[in-house]
Amino acid sequence: MSAWDRFAETFLNGEVLARYLPSILGGVWVTVELSLLIVVAGILLGTALACLRAYRIAPLSLLIVVFADVFRSLPPLVLILMGYFGLPNVGFTLSAFAVLFVILTLTLAAFTEEIVWAGITATPKGQWEAARSTGMGFSQTLVWVVLPQAVRMVIPPLTNRAIAITKMTALGSVIGVPDILNQATTAQSFSGNASPLLLASALYVLLFLPLVIASRRLEARFAWRT
């Protein structure tokens, strides 16, 4: 058997692929659903926290900073394992899907908070002053003047981070969330063949490459009109 044949047998085994395709495609739906939920919830929560921090209420800001720093320094896998295997011991049982969603949402929220906060502080003081001098209140200025500019400024790091964290849905396979990777590793162990893993890789590229490209476009679209 030539090297190519051996490679094809291992990674491009049509028979294995055909058998497990349905379950792996089912995993695609789980991954997509989770990713969308995490991106929406994580970015909303993180942005809301950054806005709260803008009010500079010392104890509240401290809490937000502690939250953001802790969730940015812990590997999400650790939290996912703790959430799934640890929490039931204190009488708090969440489904694997819910644990993955909560942990990754909080992780994305932590990064989003820091990124959007950086955007808020980078918005020139003159923007605040101009708006306040027309009689707009602090919250109005934050929402209508500062935040739109802050978010535009941080779209590149924000989309990068959102993509990086949604890719971590693959960590769910460890606690049995039936996502793409989980379905593929199951198929791989049943069939003793690695083809499902190659298929899973292809599916991840198919899912995330358009996102990466879309983020490029988004950056261009939100650049200041000159």
Partner: protein
């Protein structure tokens, strides 16, 4: 704009539009404004001159409390704006401010730069706000640029939009902090022209600017600041031809040279 306070200007019994009295401002231990007394009567245009660091901007920014005075009081049409319990946002909508660096909102086109406060502060409906914005932009000669973003406008045009943004709220006084200093020389004229037009409409204005010729021609009074004090306060003719203070003379000599 044209209907701006037209009726009650004739009276004359009303208190001055803006009055600073015994105003002090310190940043930490540095005293930047000392014992400032200044009155701007209704319909007047008062020019403020002074060297860099003399406190001109700080004084202007105290007038709408972008800077918090350390002592003294400021009256807007007789109302103490530093009194406890005043609604600062309500006061500020009656005081227009124009900044050296325009400070337009870069994410909004010219029309929405003007309508934002109309919608959020005055709570006007979309149509009414648009109408007012159009007439304010028309007043500064930019009705045809309403859908341009700040980045698509020249410096002079941006500053005119900023003026439109302020006058759309129909303020009782306008504060200008070096409105032409950030502009290329050939763009200064168009902004001055708009200010001259406001003056013709009897807008009350307090202007920090080094456009001497304009001050001489259009100001009702010129004040000169040095070291946080007002050292000279006179009508323009007298100010420029026979200032009473040595420091004013030195300043004028340097600037006319």
């Amino acid at each position: 704009m044209s209907e701006m306070n037209a009726t009650d200007r004739v009276g004359g019994t009303k208190p001055p539009t803006l009055q600073l009295s015994g105003l002090h401002k310190s940043f930490g231990t540095v005293e930047v404004l000392r014992e400032i007394d200044l009155t701007v009567e209704r319909g007047q245009m008062v020019f403020v001159l002074g060297r860099s660091g003399s406190g001109k901007s700080t004084m202007l920014r105290c007038c709408n409390r972008l800077e918090e005075p350390s002592a003294g009081s400021i009256f807007l049409e007789g109302q103490d704006i530093c009194a406890r319990g005043v609604d600062l946002d309500k006061i500020r909508r009656r005081i227009g401010m124009v900044f050296q660096s325009f400070n337009l909102y870069p994410h909004l086109d010219a029309r929405r730069n003007v309508t934002l406060a109309l919608r959020k502060v005055l709570k006007l409906g979309r149509d009414e706000a648009d109408e007012r914005a159009t007439s304010a932009l028309d007043r500064v000669g930019l009705a045809n640029r309403a859908d341009h973003y700040p980045g698509q406008l020249s410096g002079g045009q941006q500053q005119r939009v900023a003026i439109a943004r302020a006058i759309a709220l129909q303020p009782v006084v306008m504060l200008f902090d070096e409105p032409t200093s950030a502009l290329d020389p050939e763009l200064v004229g168009e902004v001055i022209a708009v200010m001259r037009e406001l003056k013709d409409l009897h807008m009350t204005m307090l202007v920090v600017s080094h456009e001497m010729a304009f001050a001489r021609e259009a100001a009702d009074r010129v004040v000169f600041m040095a070291d946080g004090r007002i050292v000279e306060d006179a009508p323009p003719e007298q100010f420029f031809t026979q200032p009473s203070e040595e420091s004013t003379r030195a300043f004028l000599a340097r600037y006319s040279a």
